[in-house]
């Protein structure tokens, strides 16, 4: 984005509620000045990041009170030095090295404040006004959400992925009608209030059945009756039939460069599809089979910060429960009838897929792999 456009205020802004205020009410700075430096003395470019409690809370207190509990603000399941899921894989004797890696590398990814979703592109992605400083209630999928969620969600949802096994197209929710992320990922959820360790434990997380009721019309479809309800003899997560191939990554290593700036390398990534056993069956995830995505953890992920950081790699599967954003009515699992899946070794995660992986990683996935193709 051009630097001047990034900070150019639209005349429309002054017609809005926020545009009725003095700029300095939120940003500080100097009333009259001859130079940028003079004007910006004491100026805060990101007031919602610096002091939301004084500038946003007077009108939006219900949101500012709970926002700190959201994963967008805290990323606790991903990078928290106490709650990150990867800590379950850590060597207790090297846990401080893993924590340092989480702090220096992984924790750089979170929203800076209200403005990242409601005024500018995310600061993680260099910011810049989306609508000339006009505040917008619903974040824009392309400018805001996908500014950060680019490698999996954007590629899957907008159909930018490529698979060696099939032709991919955009998620049916995105094309043709451009359903925005906020339709499912509601403000009520995004603004926090509930405390949970990962997005899959969020009580307000969306479910397919929020819109697609498992009613008589649903079970009138033979395959739904066979596999789509809790009464089915074999119950499948919706994505098992209706997800197209999705992104999988391997071997992420994090480090700092010569200037102490964080970076990562991943060995490979690619679109594929695998059905695994539901290793985390529960009342909210009752299915027998789920789709699983390979996450890029590796026993050497944190080697830069200390050797042998993740010696407990077998503690958690590396092929994990997934909710791909590549939904389609017709997929390579549905287009050929029963034979698309039954007897088709290619779409199931089996011991063959573990070839070349370490003994620890093979062990990690014992509860996921399918020993006998249905």
């Amino acid at each position: 984005m051009e630097a001047d456009i990034a900070v150019l205020v639209s005349p429309d802004f002054f017609e809005t509620t926020h545009g009725q205020m003095d700029c300095r009410d939120c940003h500080g700075g100097v009333k009259f000045a001859k130079t940028r430096a003079e004007a910006h003395v004491g100026m805060e470019p990101l007031p919602s990041a610096a002091y939301a409690e004084s500038v946003c809370a007077p009108c939006h207190q219900a949101i500012t009170d709970t926002f700190a509990t959201t994963l967008h603000a805290e990323t606790r399941g991903v990078s928290s030095t106490e709650k990150a899921l990867v800590l379950q894989r850590a060597n207790p004797d090297a846990i401080e090295a893993v924590r340092e890696g989480l702090t220096r590398n992984c924790d750089t990814c979170h929203v800076s404040g209200c403005g990242d979703c409601h005024v500018t592109r995310p600061q993680f992605n260099d910011g810049g006004f989306v609508q000339g400083h006009v505040f917008y209630k619903s974040p824009n999928s392309l400018n805001n959400c996908m500014g950060c969620h680019g490698s999996r969600i954007e590629k899957e949802y907008t159909g930018k992925g490529e698979s060696a096994k099939t032709t991919l197209h955009a998620d049916v929710h995105w094309s043709p009608n451009g359903m925005q992320c906020t339709v499912c990922h509601t403000a009520e959820w995004m603004h926090g209030g509930d405390v949970y360790d990962s997005r899959y434990e969020a009580p307000k997380a969306p479910k397919c059945t929020d819109c697609h009721a498992q009613d008589a019309a649903f079970t009138a479809v033979a395959m739904h009756a066979q596999h789509g309800t809790s009464e089915s003899s074999v119950y499948l997560q919706c994505q098992v039939c209706h997800a197209q191939d999705y992104n999988n990554c391997t071997s992420c290593h994090v480090a700092l460069d010569d200037n102490d700036l964080p970076y990562f390398t991943t060995e490979s990534s690619g679109f594929d599809f695998n059905i695994g056993r539901n290793y985390m069956q529960s009342d909210t995830k009752p299915w027998d089979y789920i789709v699983v995505r390979h996450v890029p953890v590796d026993d050497g992920t944190f080697d830069f910060y200390g050797a042998d950081g993740l010696t407990n790699l077998s503690a958690v599967p590396t092929w994990k429960y997934a909710t791909p954003h590549s939904i389609s009515r017709v997929t390579r699992q549905t287009e050929g009838g029963c034979g698309s899946c039954h007897g088709n070794r290619d779409i199931f995660l089996t011991a063959d897929d573990m070839a070349g992986l370490s003994a620890d990683e093979v062990k990690a996935n014992e509860s996921v792999i399918i020993s006998e193709i249905p």
């Binding site: 001047d4 009259f32 000045a33 004007a39 400083h133 700092l256 970076y263 390398t265 991943t266 990534s269």
Partner: protein
Amino acid sequence: MTPSDHLTHRIRLLAAALLVVGIMLAASGCSAEPLVADEGELTCIECHTDRDLLKADLEADPKPVKEKAESEGEG
């Protein structure tokens, strides 16, 4: 006290209150802020709504580039 005396007394009280408020504002620094711009001075709005002005200013004094390390692969 006649009605006229009463009014005079109230006006004196109001004047005294205004004087106290004025002293407090002056002490807080509010009165130090100019009400009109000197020649060549601009407000936030005058600059941030003028694309040509912003462009010229940023060309003359570019914002520092945010340093980022290069990552490889997908995150």
